[in-house]
């Protein structure tokens, strides 16, 4: 950082992962009062999408919209950053399957769902948001890169930004080519202004000093942290829920770390 960064507040928070559907269910685990146990991931029904649109979406898109909805209450037309490492494995599998059968045909819905920004597009329609929205990936470092993009938007454009990060595991035959085993998504609204119920403030920097990544305080979450690129957010989610003032190191590009200083004033 060439200059002192202003703190960016995390004013809302949502999560969806096995055994952690919604902040209410997740809070005892994220604050160390309960152990994490895996459980079957439920079918999510994002309320913002009309039923006819919802039918056209996949589990991956619903996962993104579910956490986006919960973090953006009441609904505001915010600028948004969507981050996902892999895109929609389900759609990739379906489309590549159909391309092996002659005559080749891809359904129009499958095709428009195949773009990486499909969740962002559905969200903008549901939230009626004309604001800018981007969709990024940096593979296993996607959570920290998306957070960085969201923070740069807050800092340089001085506006609130909705950050939505999500990844959904593959089924056969693609599952053998990805380490991802669990679904995981989180979303929050970042702002230069502290809200009444703010979860805390962050300042971020990049460090190349060879540090190891931060682990969860609740050791039962370690398995989940390694099960999905977006679950690398867990140490940050713990710090926000525990109101811990702490410096965290999240996996970032080229073995660097995103240094996240969490404060609660």
């Amino acid at each position: 950082m060439k200059q002192k960064m202003k703190p960016v507040y995390i004013n809302t928070l949502s999560i969806a992962a096995p055994g952690l559907i919604g902040l209410e269910e997740a809070m005892p685990v994220l604050t160390g009062k309960a152990q994490w146990q895996t459980s079957e991931f439920p079918k999510l029904v994002p309320q913002s999408l009309p039923a006819n649109e919802r039918r056209r979406t996949t589990s991956y898109i619903k996962l993104a919209l579910h956490v986006a909805d919960k973090a953006n209450l009441p609904n505001k037309a915010l600028a948004a950053v969507f981050a996902s490492s892999n895109g929609d494995f389900h759609i990739s599998n379906n489309i590549c399957n159909t391309l092996t059968i002659e005559p080749k045909y891809i359904s129009p819905t499958q095709f428009h769902n195949s773009v990486h920004n499909a969740p962002s597009g559905y969200w903008a329609i549901a939230a009626k948001s004309p604001a800018a929205s981007t969709s990024i990936s940096t593979g296993d470092n996607t959570f920290s890169s998306g957070l960085l993009e969201a923070v740069t938007q807050v800092l340089s454009q001085q506006e609130d930004v909705l950050y939505v990060a999500y990844d959904y595991p593959a089924t056969a035959p693609l599952d053998k080519f990805s380490d991802m085993t669990e679904a995981f998504a989180t979303a929050f609204v970042l702002s230069l202004e502290k809200s009444e119920n703010s979860y805390g403030a962050i300042k971020i920097d990049i460090t190349n000093d060879g540090r190891k990544k931060s682990h969860c305080i609740n050791a039962s979450l370690n398995e989940l942290q390694n099960s999905n690129p977006i679950a690398e957010s867990l140490p940050l989610l713990e710090a926000l829920c525990l109101k811990n003032s702490i410096t965290l190191y999240l996996p970032h590009l080229n073995n660097s770390k995103l240094k996240v200083k969490v404060t609660h004033d």
């Binding site: 950082m1 200059q3 960064m5 490492s85 892999n86 895109g87 990739s92 489309i95 590549c96 391309l99 092996t100 005559p103 080749k104 045909y105 891809i106 359904s107 129009p108 095709f111 428009h112 769902n113 195949s114 773009v115 990486h116 920004n117 499909a118 962002s120 597009g121 903008a124 329609i125 939230a127 009626k128 004309p130 604001a131 800018a132 929205s133 981007t134 969709s135 990024i136 990936s137 940096t138 593979g139 296993d140 470092n141 996607t142 890169s145 960085l148 993009e149 740069t152 938007q153 340089s156 454009q157 001085q158 035959p173 693609l174 080519f177 990805s178 990049i206 190349n208 590009l253 660097s256």
Partner: protein, 401 residues
């Protein structure tokens, strides 16, 4: 809010018009399209293909990233003295202070298509298939960073056809916020069965070379392309570094919030992106001397874009779509057309809207039917990129004033 301009100090491009900026410029000057009739699809369509990418091998140490998309990336990095400029920038800023922001709609997803055709009797994909180093979007970023020896911030934006326009905005924000001192922006997109058959199923491909803004336009011609540009803050780039005096003056991003694969009929999101770009450049509509249209040649896109431009600029500003030359290069369209705009500024050449036979009488904008190389005094131009999911981005490039 007005932004600080960034200077483009190096750039490279490869597309169906050939390898290097001079190939594109020469094709523009000679009105020579790069589109060719496809020979190996189940339907008739014209493509902007880069044959040189087929057998262009990656560095031995980076072979793990082998796929046609990264081969096109390497071909382009090896063009227009781009690597030399980056080596110079590395000495100036340090390898970890140059960001890399790249757009792609395809990445190396062609490898997945090929792997599905080679499944065994159990349905397993071949063991040498490697999703993470080819199909995953980070493949393009990781390959580019490692090929150039860079270790700074960056990401891949994939917002369909606006991807490699939005990278300029992301790069600007990362520099502005202090997370890097300079940035490479770019885009790489290659022809895939998914995009070819996908657009065909939406009935959005033409069986003729695409005819943007024509009364009889009936769809796109798909192309592939790559381009890179080095952006530096003006205060830090000595004038001797500047191969051109073209700067990024503004950007505007918006969402249609209307439909997943059709533009808002009144061009609501498109107009908002252009208006925001003007505000960030602190320019008014009359300061813009040329508009490079998104101009895909689908009936809906060109009509909506016409309404949006008319609302923001009126009907006097010269406009053209250059997709009749390159085809619609999807995730690489933003960078390709931004670099065409750079050529427009450097050469004071306004390119025609190729393949225009009968201008659509329902369009109000001023469409250039011929190249214009007279004394132009072109100072500022805007480039439009709009994508599926209603993702819009407009860039303003201009001569350094």
């Amino acid at each position: 809010m007005p932004i600080s301009p960034l200077i483009i100090t190096a750039s490279s491009m490869v597309n169906a018009l050939g390898r290097g900026k001079n190939a594109t410029l020469s094709a523009l000057q000679n009105k020579k399209s790069g589109l060719q009739l496809s020979q190996d699809l189940d339907f008739s369509t014209w493509l902007g293909r880069v044959e040189e990418a087929d057998n262009y091998l990656l560095e031995e140490a980076l072979k793990i990233f082998s796929c046609r998309n990264n081969q096109l990336a390497k071909l382009t990095l090896d063009t227009d003295n781009f690597r030399k400029a980056i080596n110079h920038a590395k000495k100036k800023y340090g390898a970890d202070r140059i960001g890399v922001f790249l757009g792609s709609s395809t990445s190396g997803s062609e490898e997945t298509e090929k792997a599905y055709l080679k499944r065994n009797e159990n349905g397993d994909l071949p063991s040498d298939y490697d999703f993470m180093h080819t199909h995953n979007f980070t493949s393009l970023l990781d390959y580019t960073q490692q090929s150039l020896g860079l270790a700074g911030v960056g990401h891949v934006i994939s917002t369909a056809c606006s991807s490699s326009a939005k990278v300029f905005a992301a790069a600007h924000r990362h520099i502005e916020s202090g997370f890097c001192d300079a940035a490479i922006v770019g885009g790489v997109d290659t022809l895939t069965q998914v995009s070819l058959y996908g657009f065909h199923s939406l009935q959005l491909t033409s069986s003729d070379p695409c005819r943007p803004c024509d009364e009889n336009r009936d769809g796109i011609s798909i192309g592939e392309a790559a381009g890179f540009a080095l952006l530096e803050p003006i205060t830090k780039s000595r004038s001797s570094d500047a191969k051109s005096a073209v700067v990024l003056k503004g950007y505007g991003e918006s969402s249609d919030a209307y439909h997943m694969s059709s533009p808002h009929p009144e061009g609501r999101g498109a107009a908002s992106a252009m208006q925001k770009a003007l505000e960030s450049a602190a320019l008014s509509a009359t300061d813009i001397n040329y508009i490079n249209l998104h101009g895909t040649a689908t009936p809906a896109n060109d009509a909506a874009e016409d309404k949006a431009i008319t609302a923001v600029f009126g009907n006097q500003t010269p406009c053209s779509s250059t997709k009749g030359w390159t085809g619609h290069t999807l995730g690489a369209a933003g960078i390709t057309e931004a670099l065409i705009c750079m050529l427009v500024l450097e050469n004071q050449l306004l390119p025609a809207n190729l393949n225009l036979k009968t201008p659509d009488p329902l369009l109000n904008i001023h469409i250039l039917s011929e190249n214009s190389e007279q004394q132009q005094n072109i100072k500022n131009v805007i480039s439009n990129s709009f994508g599926f999911g209603g993702s819009n981005c407009s860039l303003i490039l201009g001569l350094q004033s």
